[in-house]
């Protein structure tokens, strides 16, 4: 199941293992993600999806296993260094900077994440932020405090904040959980649009329709192991995947 492409993958995860005390959350996970890919990550609750992206984004340290990003070993790097190299994420439960407005939330990303790409000159900062907000449909909320946002707006704000870090890889952690079907479509459209701009996206999702519509490849985790990886319909048809889902 390993990829056979000659060029280097954007992200290469090799032999990743993560234990909490006696509990093994991830067990020897290896996968490559190609540049520009739309990658779906599924699995029942507690299967290790969020743990995996925590390991990719640097929130957790991993003992055995490596994470290679654009050919560089980023395993020892803390999260913010990974963000600066181009890995951005959203959170399962939105984590806005509560004391700030929407614009200020994005400013944080501009201030800190784009160090490698050079500072955005002061005069253009607001323009840059507003452009991202326009893209995510949050223009009218720009100067509101985040406490005043609805659930779907919070999700979009998180994606916008992630975008403001100018990522090459965007990880969306259940950005559609708890949204209405029309809102799910909104967010999904947004993610597809972002992918169209050349950003590689890993999407964790429970809503299968969304996964099927979005993903070029899907990986299914169960109890910390990869049980299926491939084209969406192949994975869905996989018996172990079905068992895993029905089993919970």
């Amino acid at each position: 199941m390993t990829s056979t492409e000659p060029e280097l993958p954007l992200l290469r995860i090799g032999g990743l293992t993560k234990r909490f005390g006696g509990f093994t959350a991830l067990d020897n996970v290896s996968v490559d993600i190609r540049a520009g890919e739309r990658f779906g990550l599924i699995g029942p609750n507690g299967s290790g999806k969020t743990t995996l992206i925590n390991c990719i984004s640097g929130a957790f340290r991993t003992e055995p296993g490596t994470v290679l990003f654009r050919g560089e070993d980023i395993t020892p790097l803390p999260a913010h260094m990974r963000t600066r190299r181009g890995i951005a994420r959203s959170f399962q439960i939105p984590r806005p900077f509560k004391s700030m407005t929407v614009v200020e939330n994005l400013m944080v990303a501009l201030d800190f994440a784009t160090v490698a790409g050079g500072f955005v000159p002061a005069a253009h900062r607001r323009d840059t932020v507003m452009a991202i907000l326009a893209q995510t449909g949050l223009t009218s909320k720009a100067d509101l405090p985040t406490t005043g946002l609805s659930q779907v707006e919070l999700r979009k704000m998180e994606l916008a904040r992630a975008m403001a870090t100018h990522p090459k890889l965007l990880i969306s952690d259940e950005a559609m959980a708890g949204l209405s079907s029309s809102e799910v479509d909104e967010v999904l459209d947004l993610l597809i649009k972002l992918a169209g701009e050349g950003i590689t996206i890993i999407m964790i999702e429970h809503i299968m329709q969304a996964v099927m519509r979005f993903s070029q490849r899907v990986m299914c985790l169960d109890a910390g192991r990869i049980i299926a990886l491939g084209a969406p319909d192949e994975v869905m048809a996989n018996q172990r995947v079905q068992e895993a889902y029905l089993g919970t």
């Binding site: 640097g58 913010h80 963000t83 959170f91 806005p96 900077f97 004391s99 200020e104 944080v108 784009t114």
Partner: protein, 319 residues
């Protein structure tokens, strides 16, 4: 430079000029003694807020930093007779180093653990100084001030000016940090440390930076105290009172803006000075207790929060 900044710098300049001229206008020494204490608390509160307010890490060890400042000055004075400016600079350097060490050691922990670590640190440092015979140990040490330097005609007046300089320095730093990327990073990590980290904020480095700056300022604020009291003993220099008063001043003023701790320190510092010379009994402590409880319950964002709310309401009415 916008209008706001110009007003700020003019204000700061005027403040220093007034402090420098005051000895010519007021011959009475008492206001200088009282002012010195209040200014000292302003520096401490502003410095505390850099870590405690902006980053949300509650330092219980204000007295540790203050005491280290005092004893750096005592040591230098006793060992080399170094002038005040050298004592100050050395205290700031030691404070920065201490802040760096404390930060690296403890800032990986969650907020409350950091607070507890700072309590422990205070006790460890106080005990060490108590056992350090060269600076007097537990028995304390008396010092004779050197002659006052021109253009000042009284030592206390000079110390007030020095402390006023520190106030301006502390505010300038706090103000810069608040409005710059550093402040935004600290605010982000205060709101949500993981989200901040994943937005590119080097949280540990920023916290350590805040701890270094805060520590340097606190130690600097403590350094002149040796010459102010002409006496130092560990139980006074490491008094819990500094930690609690500074915490109270910052919260009463509000920590979201640099002006908060300034207002809080002036308000509570003046109140304490007044109570000392009026009621002058255990009621003094009772007032501090009640003010703390009332403010954190009724004005969670401090006075600054109340002012902002009021002005927002006015703006809404006018709109």
């Amino acid at each position: 430079m916008n209008r706001n900044s110009i007003a700020f710098w003019i204000g700061a300049g005027l403040f220093l000029v007034v402090v420098a001229l005051l000895p010519q206008l007021i011959r009475n020494e008492y206001p200088f003694f009282a002012a010195y204490v209040i200014l000292q608390f302003i520096v401490l509160s502003v410095a505390w807020s850099i870590l405690g307010g902006y980053a949300g890490y509650v330092n219980f060890g204000t007295s540790a930093f203050f005491g280290v400042g005092v004893y750096t000055a005592v040591f230098l004075f006793k060992a080399t007779g170094a002038p005040l400016a050298v004592q100050l600079a050395a205290a700031a350097a030691v404070g920065a180093l201490l802040g760096f060490a404390v930060g690296l050691l403890t800032l990986r922990m969650q907020g409350i653990f950091f607070s507890i670590a700072t309590i422990a640190l205070t006790i460890v440092i106080e005990t060490s100084v108590t056992n350090w015979r060269f600076v007097g140990g537990a028995a304390g040490i008396q010092m004779q001030r050197p002659a006052v330097m021109a253009p000042f005609d009284g030592y206390v007046q000079m110390l007030v000016f020095v402390q006023a300089l520190l106030v301006v320095l502390a505010i300038v730093i706090a103000r810069y940090m608040q409005s710059s990327w550093i402040g935004r990073g600290l605010q982000a990590l205060k709101d949500d440390e993981l989200a901040a980290e994943c937005t590119g904020v080097p949280t540990l480095r920023l916290k350590v930076l805040a701890c270094v700056i805060s520590g340097a300022l606190m130690c600097a604020a403590g350094a002149p105290a040796a010459m102010y009291l002409q006496y130092a003993d560990p139980s006074s220099a490491f008094n819990l009172n500094y930690s609690v008063s500074v915490l109270a001043m910052s919260l009463i003023g509000g920590t979201a803006h640099w002006a908060g701790p300034v207002i809080g320190a002036i308000l509570l510092g003046t109140t304490q000075q007044l109570l000392t010379v009026t009621i002058s009994s255990e009621v003094n402590l009772l007032v501090l207790g009640i003010m703390l409880v009332v403010f954190v319950v009724a004005a969670p964002e401090g006075l600054i929060g109340l002012i902002r709310k009021a002005s927002r309401k006015r703006a809404e009415r006018e709109a």
